[in-house]
């Protein structure tokens, strides 16, 4: 039995590590073909890895990516593909920024004000995802289609609201536009790191808590069991008395609520306003990170740190004369090869188990289930 566990872990690790190695080889090939030196890239990357600022920025990016990944993973565990994390977090960040920045909030005690902001963001994210859930359970609309459309609608809604006549303020002569700046009481202080001009987001702790809760709920509660069961086999779940519609609604609401948190570290730790330069597209990064981390709380943490570092090393590549696009290529190849590697490992595992079953048939031991 111990042998089996060890092999299982080994196989689990083999896929992502193999994929990373493969991705590195592909990138080296591309660099060689385009006439860039692989050594330069390695140099630039290691320079970046020794610069405190780059590392702090990487951790900050990872914090945000991790939250996005957990939001996506909650859906994945139910076989729900929430592509709408992007729209959910942008709408949530914009509305909660408007709330947190509103003048009447200045007199609210700091802790309460931050809590209100974060809860508001979760509610908005959940509500936006809830629309897709409602469409699915009442009309059978695929959440893939509806969440993509809701992303687009969120974009227009945010544009509409981000107007001086509504929730935004402008400063004379500036070409930017954003919500009223959140005053100090509503901000979350960061952690100083010596040698770095940027601070680690205080809300990195929020990501840790969310990661822990994700693990706890999924593997230690009845609800988590039902959620995973529904994802693995809907008919089996129905047979054991689980209401699939209820599970769809609840998991989409949870996914949306976590998606609402995605913008919080940046908003309360650095931007303090939702303006035109608030980072978009984090929801899609979340999908990649969730895939890479196999929806596992620790796996996604490693994946988000890797993603964060690659993104923040791009400037170092650029200044050393290597096109920054190599990072995008690397990320794309990693995701593709991870998907392929998992499939290969899965097939290998099924075959190995079938062989084990076959050889066990001669004996009197009970058969073990051939799991997918």
């Amino acid at each position: 039995m111990r042998n089996r566990t060890a092999r299982s872990i080994l196989l689990g690790v083999a896929a992502p590590v193999g994929a990373l190695v493969f991705a590195a080889l592909v990138c080296a090939l591309i660099l060689a073909v385009t006439g860039h030196s692989v050594g330069d890239v390695v140099d630039a990357m290691s320079t970046a890895a020794q610069r405190p600022r780059t590392l702090v920025n990487s951790v900050n990016s990872a914090t945000v990516y991790y939250l996005a990944a957990v939001a996506v993973a909650i859906g994945f565990r139910m076989k729900l593909f929430n592509i709408g994390v992007d729209g959910q977090y942008r709408l949530a960040a914009m509305l909660s920024a408007a709330l947190a920045g509103a003048a009447f909030m200045d007199s609210v005690p700091s802790v309460l004000r931050i809590a209100m902001t974060v809860v508001a963001a979760m509610l908005v994210g959940a509500a936006w995802a809830g629309l897709a859930a409602l469409l699915k359970v009442t009309r059978g609309v695929s959440e893939v289609i509806s969440t993509i459309m809701l992303n687009s609608i969120a974009t227009y809604l945010v544009s509409y609201l981000l107007n001086p006549a509504r929730l935004a303020v402008t400063t004379a002569g500036s070409n930017n536009i954003g919500t009223r700046k959140i005053t100090e009481g509503g901000q979350v202080a960061g952690f100083e790191v010596s040698g770095s001009s940027t601070k680690v987001f205080g809300l990195v702790l929020l990501a840790v808590v969310v990661g822990f809760l994700y693990w706890f709920v999924l593997s230690r509660t009845r609800f988590g069991f039902e959620l995973k069961a529904t994802g693995l086999s809907e008919s089996a779940a129905v047979a054991s008395g689980v209401s699939v519609k209820k599970m769809v609604v609840i998991s989409m609401l949870l996914s949306g609520a976590v998606a609402g948190l995605v913008g919080m570290p940046q908003l309360l730790g650095s931007s303090y306003t939702y303006s035109l330069d608030f980072p978009p597209g984090l929801g899609f990064v979340g999908i990649a990170v969730a895939l890479l981390g196999r929806n596992h709380p620790i796996g996604m943490m490693v994946a988000s740190l890797l993603w964060g570092f690659l993104d923040n090393a791009a400037n170092s590549l650029d200044i050393s004369g290597v096109p920054r696009e190599i990072v995008l290529i690397m990320q794309g190849v990693i995701v593709l090869s991870v998907v392929v590697a998992y499939e290969l490992v899965r097939r290998y595992r099924v075959r190995a188990e079938q062989q084990a079953v076959g050889s066990a048939l001669g004996r009197t031991k009970p058969l073990e289930e051939v799991s997918a």
Binding site: Q50, R53, L305, F309, D311
Partner: protein, 342 residues
């Protein structure tokens, strides 16, 4: 793993610095041939056929005429202020001075960086923020040039119906629309001005999607417009293509698009262009640093100061040029105040 790296990296203080550049442009006569210019682009970078390219032209001119070495860095869609700040700091750490940040999105990042490098001269395009002793803010009165092409459109329209296509619905591009509309209405108060933006932020593809420009322009021509002003960067090519196919006219933006090689096929439908000379601003800034005449603060490029104008290439405005120049003189003298917001 990365946490470990953070910890081991603590203590090295290669980040917050006071410039430490070899060129040291703090007042003393720096040997100009050693000037290294750093330039950080907005999303799209060199090759966007829009204002990044315009900045690149200014940089190229400085490079070829004055022999500076240059370093250009690009932004990625979806990045944070921290990543923009990192880009500026890496240029500063690399001894680049002066450093140009292209686009208002760099305002926050530059504010933090400029503080730590008082000896380096920075410029930012399109933003009055941040205000600092070592930052020049290069801004443009786009509404004034747009007003003049609006006047031209109003004088030339036969259907009493003109169109405005903005790349992305942001305050910067809204300035173009407001000025254009004001110009049209000044000549023909009863004229219809159709307005459309190709994308909404944070989707900035509207600046570089000719297909979207084509569709939007087709809609306007179908609705009766005969001249469309494309303030949409690279998407303008699609607008001109549709104009040509329908026997209508288009108005260009940023550079004198009649003379752009990439638009040679459609130049006969380009009535005029609203010229916004980011390249001149970048070049001027670089030479000012070279000559030790750096001036901090907001430098507005408008009709009066130059840097904003309308184009007459192609000769389509020959018959009405006098009238347009009349409006131009009035704007310069202050008799006409062009609005910049709705």
């Amino acid at each position: 793993m990365a946490v470990g790296l953070v910890l081991t990296a603590c203590g090295s203080k290669n980040d917050s610095g006071s410039g430490g550049t070899s060129t040291g442009a703090s007042g003393s006569q720096a040997p100009t041939s050693n000037l290294k210019i750093g330039l950080a682009y907005d999303i799209g970078g060199r090759g966007d056929q829009s204002f990044n390219d315009s900045a690149a032209r200014g940089l190229d001119k400085a490079k070829s005429e004055l022999g500076f070495s240059i370093k250009e860095l690009e932004a990625t869609a979806g990045e944070t202020d921290a990543q923009k700040e990192d880009r500026l700091r890496q240029l500063a750490e690399g001894g680049y001075n002066p450093i140009v940040a292209v686009g208002f999105a760099y305002a926050t990042a530059l504010e933090k960086t400029a503080k730590d490098y008082p000896d380096i001269k920075f410029a930012i395009i399109d933003s009055v923020d941040p205000a600092a002793d070592n930052v020049a803010n290069l801004t443009f009165a786009e509404q004034e040039g747009s007003y003049l092409v609006g006047v031209a459109a109003a004088l030339k329209t036969k259907t009493n119906n003109v169109g405005f296509i903005g790349g992305v619905n942001v305050p910067l591009i809204q300035k173009f629309e407001v000025g254009f509309t004001a110009g049209v209405k000044a000549v023909k108060p009863d004229a219809t001005v159709q307005a459309k933006y190709l994308t909404q932020p944070p989707d900035f593809t509207g600046f570089n999607d000719p297909a979207k420009g084509e569709t939007a322009a087709k809609g306007m021509f179908d609705a009766g417009a005969d001249i469309v002003y494309a303030a949409a960067g690279g998407s303008g090519a699609g607008v001109f293509k549709t104009a040509k196919a329908n026997g209508k006219l288009g108005i260009g933006v940023d550079s004198d698009q009649y003379n752009l090689p990439s638009l040679a096929d459609v130049k006969d439908v380009i009535l005029t262009s609203m010229i916004k000379e980011v390249d001149v601003a970048v070049y001027d800034f670089i030479t000012s640093v070279k000559d030790n005449k750096f001036a901090k603060g907001n430098k507005v490029y408008d009709l009066k100061a130059g840097g904003i104008d309308y184009a007459t290439s192609g000769g389509k405005l020959d018959d009405i040029k006098a009238k347009i120049d009349d409006y131009k003189a009035k704007i310069i003298s202050g008799e006409i105040k062009v609005p910049s917001t709705k």
